[in-house]
C-alpha cells in the first residue's frame, strides 16, 4: 500500500491537470462556437463540459481518449480497417520479430566479441558508433529502400526494430559474459572443462541477469522502431499509420488513442520480459 498510494496520488494529479488543461486549451474554439450559436454567459460547469466534448479538440479529455480506444478495439470487427486492435497487432508482430532477431544478433555478436580479441577491438567501437546514427530518423527511408528491392510488409519494419534492439543486448551480454571472476574460470580449468562447457555452465548462466535487463530496454525500443518505420507506408497499417493519418486529418482523439495503445503495448511487453526474468532468476537461485 505504501508504494501504491504515492503513485495513485501523482496519477490523480496528472488527470486533474489534464482536465484543467483541456478546458484552457479548448476554450478559444469553444468561445467561437458559442459565439456562432449566440450562446452568451454559459455557466462555467456547462462550459467545461462543452470543452470536454468537442469533435476535434486541441487537447482531448481523458474520457474521450478512452472511449475512442474502447470503441475502436471492442466496438469494431477485428478485420475492419479502423480497428485499433488490428493496427496494434500489425505493429506488435513487427516489434516481436525485430526483437527476436535483434536479441539473437546481439547474443551472437557478444559471444564473438568475448571469445575473439580482434572482433572485440574492431567491432565494439563501431557498434557504439552505430547507435549515434539516428536510424529512427531514417527508418521510413530504409523501409522505402527495402521495398524497392522487393522486401515489403513485416520484414523492413522488423529490420529497423532489430537494428535498434541489438545494441543494448550486445553491450549487456558482453558485460555479462565477462562477469565470471578469474577464480571461477580457474575452477573450470581445474575441472578440465573445454571452452564449450565453460560457456554453457559458467558464462551463460552468469550473463542471464544482464541479458534480461538488456531485453527490457530492447523490447521497448523495438516497439518505437516499428511505430516510426510505419510512418512511410500508409497502406500497410499499424499504429504509426494511425498517428500519421490522424495528424493529416486533424483527428486529435485518434492520435491520442493510438498513442495510448502504443504505451499500453510497451508496458505489457516490458512486464512480460520482467516476469520471465523473475521466473528464470528464481530457478537459477538469484535473490531479488
Amino acid at each position: 500500500m505504501n508504494r501504491v498510494l504515492p503513485i495513485l496520488t501523482i496519477l490523480v494529479a496528472i488527470l486533474a491537470f489534464w482536465y484543467a488543461a483541456a478546458i484552457w486549451m479548448n476554450a478559444p474554439w469553444q468561445n467561437i462556437l458559442n459565439g456562432r450559436a449566440n450562446l452568451e454567459n454559459v455557466p462555467f460547469l456547462e462550459f467545461a463540459q462543452q470543452t470536454w466534448a468537442q469533435d476535434k479538440p486541441v487537447l482531448p479529455a481523458p474520457h474521450q481518449v478512452f472511449s475512442e480506444i474502447w470503441n475502436a478495439t471492442m466496438g469494431l470487427e477485428f478485420t475492419s480497417r479502423r480497428s485499433l486492435a488490428l493496427h496494434a497487432w500489425i505493429t506488435l508482430s513487427a516489434t516481436l520479430l525485430g526483437f527476436v532477431l535483434g536479441t539473437g544478433l546481439g547474443v551472437v555478436l557478444a559471444v564473438a566479441i568475448v571469445h575473439n580479441d580482434a572482433a572485440d577491438r574492431s567491432l565494439m567501437p563501431w557498434i557504439i558508433a552505430s547507435q549515434t546514427i539516428p536510424i529512427l530518423a531514417i527508418a521510413p527511408m530504409v523501409v522505402v529502400g527495402l521495398g524497392a528491392i522487393g522486401l515489403t510488409g513485416l520484414v523492413p519494419k522488423a529490420l529497423i526494430s532489430m537494428y535498434l534492439s541489438f545494441f543494448p543486448v550486445v553491450v549487456g551480454m558482453v558485460k555479462g559474459l565477462r562477469s565470471p571472476e578469474a577464480i571461477q574460470l580457474d575452477l573450470m580449468r581445474t575441472y578440465d572443462a573445454n571452452p564449450w562447457q565453460v560457456f554453457w555452465k559458467l558464462r551463460w548462466p552468469a550473463a542471464l541477469p544482464m541479458l534480461f535487463a538488456s531485453m527490457k530496454v530492447g523490447i521497448a525500443i523495438s516497439l518505437i522502431g516499428a511505430v516510426v518505420a510505419e510512418l512511410s507506408n500508409a497502406a500497410g497499417g499499424g499504429l504509426g499509420v494511425r498517428l500519421l493519418t490522424g495528424s493529416y486529418n486533424g483527428q486529435t482523439i485518434q492520435i491520442w488513442a493510438a498513442l495510448f495503445i502504443a504505451a499500453g503495448l510497451a508496458a505489457v511487453l516490458v512486464a512480460i520480459v520482467g516476469a520471465a526474468e523473475r521466473m528464470v532468476n528464481a530457478r537459477n537461485g538469484v535473490r531479488a
Binding site: 496519477l11 580479441d117 572485440d120 574492431s122 563501431w126 531514417i138 486533424g250 498513442l259
Partner: protein
C-alpha cells in the same frame, strides 16, 4: 605450425593468398587485365610462401590488403559490371584485412606493439574495409544508384550540395535540437532536485518516470506540430518531452549516490541543505547526470528529425530526407544521413569529453575508458 599462425589465421591466410592466386590466373586469361591490379594480385599470391618458406610479418598482410583494395577501386569500371575475377580481389582484400587485424590485436596483447596508436588502427581498418566493400559491391555489380549509391557518389553529393546541407543542419540541429535539449535536460534536473526533498513525491514520480522513459514518446510529434506550428518550436517541444524523463530518472537515482558517511561528514561541517547539494550530492550524481546527457544526445536528434516528417517549413534534415526519397534523390538522402551521423557522433563525443573533465574522479574515467 610452421607459419606461426593460429587455426583461424591459417585459414584466413589460405583464403587470402588463394583468392589472390585465382585473381592472378583470371587476369592472365582475361583480355582486359589492369596492370596495377594484376601486380597487387601477384603480391598477394606471394604471401602463400609463408607456408613453405618462413613466417612473414603481419605488416605485409596489411600492405597486401591495402594494395589490392586500392588498385581494385581504381580499376573499377564505370557504368558496367566488373569482370568476374575482380570479385576474387574483394574476397582477398577482405581476408587480408581480417588476417592483419587478428595478428595485430594478438601482438598488442603480447605487448610487442604500442597500444595507444595501434588500438585506433584496428577499428579504422574495419571501417575502411566496410566502405571499400560498399564501393566495390555497388559499382562492381552496377547496383542502381536509386537503391544504394556508392560512397564516392555520396561524397561528391556532400561536396556539391554543401549549402543545402548546411541550411538543413542549422534548421534541425541549431534551432530545434539544441534549445530543446537544453530546456528538457534543465527541466529534468530541476524537477528531480525539487522532487528529491519529498520522499512521497519521489515514490510517486519515479515509477511513472521510469514507465514514461520506456514509452514511444516520439508519437507526440504530430500533436506538438498541431500545437506549436510547423517551424522549429514544435520540434524543440518534442525534444523537450523526449529528454525530460531520462534526465529526471537518472538525476533522482544520482542524488542518492552519495553515501550516508559522506552526508554525515557534511553534517559535522554544519553544512546546510544547499551546501550539501552543491558540494556533495550534485557532484556525486555527476556520472548519472552525464549518462542521461549522453542518452539524450541521440534521442534529441532522432526526435527533431522524426518530428519533421509530420510537417515542416521547406528546410530541415527530416524534410530533406522525406522529400529526397520521394524524388528518388537517394544520394542526397545519404549525404543528409552522413551529416546526421557526424553531428550525432560529435554531439555525443563532446558530452563524453566534458564528462571526462568533470567526473575525473570516478573509477570508470580513472580507469582510462569512458
Amino acid at each position: 605450425m610452421k607459419s606461426g599462425l593460429t587455426l583461424l589465421q591459417a585459414v584466413l591466410a589460405v583464403v587470402a593468398g588463394g583468392t589472390a592466386l585465382f585473381g592472378l590466373v583470371g587476369a592472365a586469361i582475361s583480355a582486359d587485365a589492369e596492370l596495377l591490379l594484376t601486380l597487387a594480385f601477384g603480391f598477394g599470391a606471394l604471401t602463400l610462401a609463408r607456408f613453405v618458406w618462413r613466417p612473414i610479418s603481419f605488416w605485409l598482410d596489411g600492405v597486401a590488403a591495402a594494395l589490392i583494395a586500392l588498385t581494385l577501386v581504381w580499376a573499377l569500371p564505370r557504368g558496367t559490371v566488373m569482370p568476374g575475377h575482380y570479385w576474387f580481389g574483394m574476397v582477398s582484400a577482405w581476408a587480408f584485412a581480417w588476417l592483419f587485424v587478428d595478428q595485430l590485436s594478438a601482438a598488442i596483447r603480447k605487448g610487442t606493439v604500442p597500444r595507444q596508436a595501434m588500438g585506433l588502427l584496428i577499428p579504422a581498418v574495419f571501417g575502411v574495409s566496410l566502405l571499400v566493400m560498399w564501393e566495390i559491391v555497388t559499382r562492381g555489380a552496377n547496383v542502381p544508384p536509386v537503391l544504394l549509391p556508392a560512397p564516392s557518389a555520396i561524397g561528391a553529393q556532400l561536396a556539391n550540395s554543401a549549402p543545402i546541407l548546411w541550411a538543413d543542419f542549422v534548421q534541425t540541429f541549431v534551432k530545434s535540437v539544441i534549445p530543446g535539449y537544453i530546456i528538457g535536460c534543465l527541466a529534468g534536473l530541476v524537477v528531480a532536485i525539487a522532487v528529491d526533498r519529498s520522499p512521497f513525491l519521489k515514490a510517486g514520480l519515479l515509477p511513472i518516470g521510469n514507465f514514461m522513459s520506456a514509452l514511444p514518446i516520439i508519437g507526440i510529434a504530430p500533436i506538438m506540430v498541431m500545437w506549436f506550428g510547423f517551424d522549429w518550436q514544435s520540434k524543440a517541444a518534442v525534444v523537450v518531452a523526449m529528454t525530460f524523463f531520462p534526465m529526471l530518472v537518472n538525476t533522482v537515482a544520482g542524488l542518492n549516490a552519495a553515501s550516508s558517511i559522506e552526508r554525515d561528514l557534511m553534517r559535522t561541517y554544519a553544512a546546510n541543505y544547499w551546501q550539501t547539494l552543491l558540494k556533495l550530492r550534485l557532484p556525486a550524481a555527476g556520472p548519472f547526470i552525464f549518462n542521461a546527457l549522453k542518452i539524450n544526445s541521440t534521442l534529441a536528434l532522432i526526435g527533431a528529425i522524426v518530428a519533421e516528417f509530420f510537417g515542416t517549413p521547406v528546410v530541415g534534415m527530416g524534410f530533406r530526407i522525406s522529400t529526397g526519397v520521394g524524388r528518388l534523390a537517394i544520394d542526397l538522402v545519404w549525404a543528409e544521413i552522413a551529416v546526421a551521423a557526424v553531428a550525432g557522433s560529435a554531439f555525443y563525443g563532446v558530452i563524453a569529453l566534458i564528462e571526462r573533465g568533470v567526473t575525473f574522479w570516478h573509477p570508470s574515467v580513472r580507469g582510462g575508458r569512458a
